[in-house]
Amino acid sequence: MKFVDEYRDPIAARKLLESIRRSASQRWTLMEVCGGQTHGLLRHGIEIELEGTIELIHGPGCPVCVTPLESIDFAHELAMLHTLSDHDVVLTSFGDMLRIPGSRGSLLDAQAQGAQVRTVYSPLDAVQLAKKNPNKEIVFFAVGFETTAPATALAVKQAAEEGLDNFRLLVAHVRVQPAMEMLLQSPHNRVQAFLAAGHVCTVMGYASYESLVEKYQLPIVVTGFEPLDLLKGILACVRQLEAGQARVENAYARSVHYEGNLQAQEIVREVYEVGDRLWRGFGMIPNGGLQLRRQWRQFDAQQHYALFGSLPIIESRQCRSADVLAGRIKPLDCAAFGNECTPDAPLGAPMVSSEGACAAYFRYRNPQVNPIDG
């Protein structure tokens, strides 16, 4: 596959690895922000190759992992609503979201009790579903970072354009930069440089990181997802750290421009405004999310369906996902990892998602499954 395969060349990867080892005079601690990067680092063995040279702390960039239980439970109630009322609601979302455990199982578990749930690839597919099923009420559970917000904003605009009154969003969009700043402000922070999330920056650009770099004096390198992209990002961080520099650098220039994608930003700005948001594992993050602007509120499922959230919120006591998401522990440090908690029977979101750190360790670093540690 063009623009993928060439960035997986093992000989080139070895050269970059060696460059990183030669450049690093001490063990530096970096955080890869995006869960897609975490999976790339584990899948391609980069994390283990650099053991002793670079410590990688896995960042919070797994949107379904930080979606609060309140929202998942609300979605659960929406999917069951047709059994209790005249609202014939079908809850739609990305596959990962539907598998995340809520207080009373995942949304897919709920199907067995009669919940109406559908996996879609794109929020635009959910709009088509609404168009084809005028008697049903289609709700799209809109999770994701700035990368995903243009798609859900576009879905709302298309639904409005087509005059659909049976399409709504349950909005749980999050913004990555306030979370990065919150991590830097923590007294326990150990992050010395960030690999910024390549596709978030594709949409948003990286001008806004300049203030962070100046304030906290640490390198931020915009980084992609393939092995050579990840290694190039790590090398750029190490070179800056060794030289005592703190700059914003772009190591994913085939996708990312300084100002980002202006059309995408315009669509997002038209539909959403910045607001405070509760993050699972973090608590309330000021300006940490997006919400529908007033003129689009008729598309807001939260406003439309007056559910009271009467059932209690139940977070697993054994699950340490909050510590994993904030980079305080590694998945293997959790007692439940691989025992009570597996991808087939997960206690927390990071074990489910294709971007969750626990799922990455289970697949690629679990001694019982894949004995590469030996």
């Binding site: 596959m1 063009k2 623009f3 993928v4 060439e6 960035y7 000989i11 080139a12 070895r14 050269k15 970059l16 060696e18 460059s19 995006c34 869960g35 897609g36 960039g61 797994c62 949107p63 379904v64 990305f94 990962d96 690839y121 794109s122 929020p123 635009l124 597919d125 999770v143 994701g144 970072f145 990368t147 995903t148 243009p150 798609a151 576009l154 298309q158 354009e161 999330a197 390549g198 596709h199 978030v200 594709t202 949409v203 997802f225 050579l228 992209d229 190039k232 220039a253 085939r254 996708s255 990312v256 421009h257 994608n261 059309q263 995408a264 669509i267 998602s353 294709s354 971007e355």
Partner: protein, 84 residues
Amino acid sequence: MCLGIPGQVVKFTDASKPYAQAEVEFDGVRRVCSMACVPDAVVGDYVIVHAGIAITRVDPEEANRVFDELAAINEDAGWKDGQL
């Protein structure tokens, strides 16, 4: 979630802005994607698609830069290929 896959624009199924759509091919598989956020893209371009919408055009010149940098590493006087 932020997974983005590069694919080649094969043909426009709806060229009318702002909701243009095109067929994009990923390793032999084709899917109709929204082109609303890449108004300058033309047939033959590679775009990165996330959740059914193209979020950027791949810049072919920038795409080669990493390989130029690797070549520069080769020319580094202190480099011994035998150690790799």
